[in-house]
Symmetry: C2
Subunit: 347 residues, 2 copies
């Protein structure tokens, strides 16, 4: 049995700007998903949910960029973290009908993959947890937030914490984790609606709209009268530079992403002028990739399940419907329109 | 008894450029150094040696700059680390004739200071160690090098280490410490003579003259075919930016100083464009001030005494004669002419 599988592939590199239908195209391919055409040790999967994350953009330039990830080849299917249902199995460890999570799913409707690439089986879900949570709080975004705040950030009760792109997938979790450690947490976001969301739903102490408060130095003076102890940088550029004027002694700056720079060629990136301040204030700035911290994943899951079951952390998913929505889903992250973790509900 | 004491003071702030005789002036004041005019708990000191360090420049702008140190007031005597002989004591712990080290000596010929500000007494000197060594290897420069390399830098045998301002007070020690850990060490310097010095006297594997190899990206490609694991930044600016294009996974960048930026007002400082690379390469950049690490000073002294007594570390002092030489001594650090630790032999 074959299915008509729609999948997104890299048609042309996007060296700058938000990728469009010129760069990313949808094609339909016939994919055998049953019988002898499935090799031993493989499974056929009907894809249910797909994670869309800013880092994917950095794989669409045709060269290794700041995140140092392998670029997609031209013609290659875009890949991501996903959840699917097994519809055929040539591995005795997996049964038809099982729900599985994989870190290398294609952005498509079906796939045939080596069973070794399956990360885990999702059988029984704890209270308050749904499938999309495995792509948000237990996925790339949630784990990145946890590593940034708890492993690198070392927040103490009373610390002044600033989080940029605070209503995005990483930011919303990070702020709540910092609040649970007793920190004062301020976020920067791209709309007034998001300020409300952060304060009402995620417990942020305050937030500001960087489109309105465009003098970041003045904004940080206003929101951080006692300086910044921990800055989770999701955006880079001008905001990072402004933060360096407001850091306290021994401030930590985990660099999670620099979304403001992803659509710019390297020569046009924003300049940073205030690194000198890192010396006197003894600031530690540290880039990280979650893959390095996978040995801590079980600690993270345990802690996060506890928070979720006790209702101490809440999530917002920005769900796009159908595989056709990928381009919009990707673009939403660069538009200030996005609230929460971007996920595609494929079927 | 009074002496005619010559001392340097802050006459006018130097917001940019190398400070000149317009900013720093020498004055002669009559200073009582004996009898009842010395208060209880104080000592009168004849100053013998004074340390001159790049960080002093950052206290001459009139405002708190990147190093976050208190600016000198107008009219205030410039202070530094020094060594002197006690010529009168109103504290039973100190005797006339003793040699003492202090971290807050004036740049002058005599002083009367609270005995509590004396850091240590220098009585018996281990083999190979002279008084100037207390201002170089056991002073600000040597300790900064040790903190940067051994505490923050975490060098491993075989690591590729890059050190800027490598023939300066910090750089010459840092490179030797890294070599003793089994690292491959390359330095950047401002003259060909210094390249020879680094290779012949300090055991550097290689070095380059940044005035000749002005394309830093190309130079680092040439000298670091396997990338950089540890960069001790003494200069900031364009060199730091270039390094960020050559960092290996988990590279460490201790920020010790940014001498290329000290003579520029903050708005004219060099821009850094390559911070994005810190994420994918998981680079840790960390500013530090040695005062934070004083609890490690005994460990440092013990290790350094061992190296010196075994002849494993050598030093070069750039000695200026007489208190009148302070302006030249200070300027030498910004001129590419300086070899080794700048020290004034006062008497």
């Amino acid at each position: 049995m074959s299915v008509d599988n729609r999948e997104w592939y890299m048609a042309a590199y996007a060296s700058q700007g938000v990728p469009t239908s010129e760069h990313l195209k949808l094609r339909t391919v016939s994919l055998p998903v049953a019988g002898d055409s499935i090799p031993e040790g493989h499974v056929a999967v009907e894809i249910l949910w797909l994670s869309v994350d800013p880092y994917q953009r950095t794989r669409m330039t045709g060269y290794r960029d700041g995140l140092d990830m392998t670029p997609f080849d031209l013609g290659q299917v875009i890949s991501t973290v996903g959840i699917g249902r097994i519809i055929e199995s040539k591995d005795s460890k997996y049964k038809k009908g099982e729900i599985v999570l994989g870190f290398g799913f294609p952005v498509g409707e079906f796939c045939v993959i080596p069973s070794a690439t399956i990360t885990s089986t999702i059988d029984q879900m704890p209270q308050n947890i749904t499938l999309p949570h495995y792509l948000s709080c237990f996925g790339v975004a949630g784990f990145a937030a946890w590593v940034a705040i708890e492993v690198i950030g070392e927040p103490k009760a009373g610390s002044n914490v600033f989080i940029s792109a605070a209503a995005g997938g990483v930011g919303m979790v990070a702020g709540q984790l910092a609040r649970l450690k007793g920190c004062r947490v301020i976020g920067s976001v791209g709309s007034d609606e998001k300020i409300k969301l952060l304060k009402d739903e995620f417990g942020y102490d305050d937030a500001f709209n960087y489109h309105k408060e465009t003098d970041f130095d003045a904004a940080l003076t206003k929101y951080f009268p006692n300086g910044i102890d921990l800055y989770l940088d999701n955006v880079g550029g001008k905001m990072l530079d402004a933060v360096l004027k407001h850091v306290n002694r021994h401030a930590r700056i985990p660099l999670c992403g620099m979304i403001s720079q992803y659509n710019k060629v390297s020569t046009e990136r924003d300049s940073i002028k205030n690194l000198f301040n890192m010396i006197g204030k003894e600031v530690r700035m540290e880039g990280f990739m979650i893959s390095t911290y996978f040995n801590r994943f079980p600690d993270f899951v345990k802690e996060m399940e506890g928070y979720l079951s006790q209702g101490k952390i809440s999530f917002k998913h920005n769900i796009f419907n159908g595989i056709g929505s990928f381009l919009d889903a990707l673009g939403s992250m660069f538009s200030s329109s996005n609230f929460g973790k971007v996920i595609i509900k494929v079927q």
